[in-house]
């Protein structure tokens, strides 16, 4: 039997917090997607159809990939790396969205397929990467199979709560306070910083447990 450590497990709390942030980021970006596409493809219903399709599709692939990726030597290090990659893949939305949408607008006359193509080009990859984080978090949190359901439940709770809060904060306030580019850049920056922090924490943990083991060994 494993001894449940009654004092709060800060490492787990931190992972839940990260899952919250990824949920927040996904919906913040999805909400902005409508605003980003509107100048070229309008705001007809099918624009939201395109956006939601692409986000759902890439999330589903992300879950699959994240799960697969977590089976080989899962670590906080790699987890942090996913955050950094997610942050980086958001950058093209700021740097190249205009010329990308312009060329798609010229090539595709039907704004349904134009918007589908544009949202794929802009949001498919970052959303896949963001989607990978959920199953990876489960992998890092689950210590035995008994608690796996509860851990998954808590994780869905936290990340979906993050999504809800990301949606409302972005649509009610952020768009009134900041430019779209500023918001996307901030999300990208925050994700990257969280990734770097996670890797730093992993390094610290490693050196800590190393000294602990050494201490244990010397005691023995």
């Amino acid at each position: 039997m494993q001894i449940s450590n009654k004092p709060i497990n800060f490492s787990n709390l931190y992972i839940y917090f990260l899952a919250f942030s990824s949920g927040f980021s996904i919906m913040c970006i999805e909400l902005l997607a409508g605003r980003i596409l509107a100048p070229f493809f309008g705001s007809s219903v099918h624009i939201w159809g395109s956006i939601i399709t692409v986000f759902m599709l890439s999330l589903s692939f992300g879950y699959l990939l994240g799960g697969k990726f977590s089976t080989h030597s899962a670590s906080l290090n790699r987890y942090g790396a996913i955050f950094i990659i997610a942050g980086l893949t958001l950058l093209p939305i700021v740097t190249s969205s205009v010329w990308l949408m312009e060329s798609i607008f010229l090539a595709v006359e039907d704004s349904r397929y134009g918007s589908l193509l544009a949202s794929t080009a802009l949001f498919f990859i970052p959303t896949i990467v963001l989607g990978m984080l959920s199953p990876y978090s489960v992998r890092l949190l689950v210590k035995n199979s008994n608690e796996s359901g509860q851990v998954a439940g808590k994780l869905y709770f936290v990340s979906t709560l993050g999504s809800a809060i990301g949606t409302i904060i972005t649509s009610f306030y952020l768009v009134m306070w900041f430019d779209i580019d500023t918001i996307v850049l901030s999300v990208s920056l925050v994700l990257s910083l969280l990734g770097i922090t996670t890797i730093a924490v992993a390094k610290m943990n490693a050196s800590l447990s190393k000294t602990k083991i050494q201490r244990d060994v010397s005691h023995a």
């Binding site: 006359e109 009610f172 009134m176």
Partner: protein, 307 residues
């Protein structure tokens, strides 16, 4: 005592009966839920109106008198005609936001030679305009079911030009934010012929007023505003090549013929001139007010706080 109770009861009965009669007078002829909104066609005696939302008082409607369909019923549609005082003979007209199609019909009647393109995002609105408002389409009058922004971008690619663009896509409840940005107005300006004009039916009662005004000024320079003291609408009238020093008030021969035509549909040209003010002489928003762009366009949020 009994007397006053009687009086009270009878006055209640009177109020009730007025209420019932009034309600009975407004008859919903047609209602449907489109992809974008609820559409209601309502008859009140001779008056037929197209409404987009029953509850809201802010909702704008397109109305006509069934016995005199050519007469313009609402202030803002009359005010839009101020455009003709500045540009009396527009050959190619673009209307963004169809409503009941009354504007298109009226313009066709006034300018039978002109070509009119109507753009409306909602197919159901087009159908209702045809069915209930006698919206006329022919070789010269075309309808495009498309987003107003996308239409303008495509028209630019095809090197089209318009002498008069009428932007009437804001129904008061929801503002398509991408149709109110600096970038969009720049696209519209490029679509105008050299002496072309833009008239836009816009807002005058919320925080949005200053933002919108500043945005128009950033693209067109000074413009005319047309508004009544009583209406919550204002019309922005902007010219592609800037405002002239002074509008000639009806001395021009073209304009006097126009005045007669307009009078026939219930529009008093003198009143239009009176309600027209240049922002060069009178600007009622701060110079440094932020403008709306594709990056920053919280038009609906700004329209919430009325102060």
């Amino acid at each position: 005592m009994l007397n006053s109770v009687n009086k009270f009861i009878s006055s209640i009965c009177f109020v009730l009966s007025v209420f019932i009669i009034n309600n009975a007078m407004a008859e919903v002829v047609h209602s449907e839920r489109s992809l974008y909104r609820n559409i209601i066609v309502e008859d009140k005696g001779d008056l037929r109106c197209l409404k987009f939302n029953v509850k809201s008082s802010k909702t704008r409607q397109s109305c006509l008198l069934k016995s005199q369909p050519q007469e313009l019923v609402f202030n803002y549609t009359k005010q839009l005609l101020t455009g003709l005082l500045v540009n009396p003979e527009p050959k190619r007209i673009l209307i963004i936001g169809l409503g009941g199609g009354t504007m298109s019909n009226t313009l066709h009647q006034l300018l039978p030679e002109s070509f009119i393109d109507n753009v409306e995002i909602d197919e159901s609105v087009i159908k209702v305009a045809r069915q209930y408002f006698g919206y006329l389409e022919n070789e010269q009058i075309k309808t495009y079911s498309q987003d107003g922004r996308v239409f303008v971008k495509r028209a630019l690619l095809k090197k089209q030009e318009y002498d008069w663009i009428i932007l009437d896509a804001f129904n008061g409840d929801y503002i398509p934010e991408h149709l109110m940005t600096q970038e969009y107005l720049e696209e519209i300006k490029r679509l105008l012929s050299l002496s072309g004009i833009l008239t836009a039916n816009t807002f005058s009662s919320s925080k949005l007023y200053a933002y919108e005004s500043a945005t128009y000024k950033s693209v067109f320079g000074d413009f005319y505003q047309v508004s009544n003291s009583d209406s919550s609408n204002r019309i922005i009238l902007a010219r592609n090549n800037g405002l002239e020093q002074n509008v000639d008030s009806g001395k021009n021969e073209n304009v006097s013929k126009l005045a007669i035509d307009l009078l026939a549909i219930g529009v008093d040209v003198k009143k239009l001139y009176q309600n027209m003010r240049s922002t060069a002489a009178h600007q009622d928003w701060p110079d440094d007010n932020p403008i709306l762009t594709d990056q920053f366009a919280p038009a609906n949020l700004l329209n919430i706080d009325t102060d």
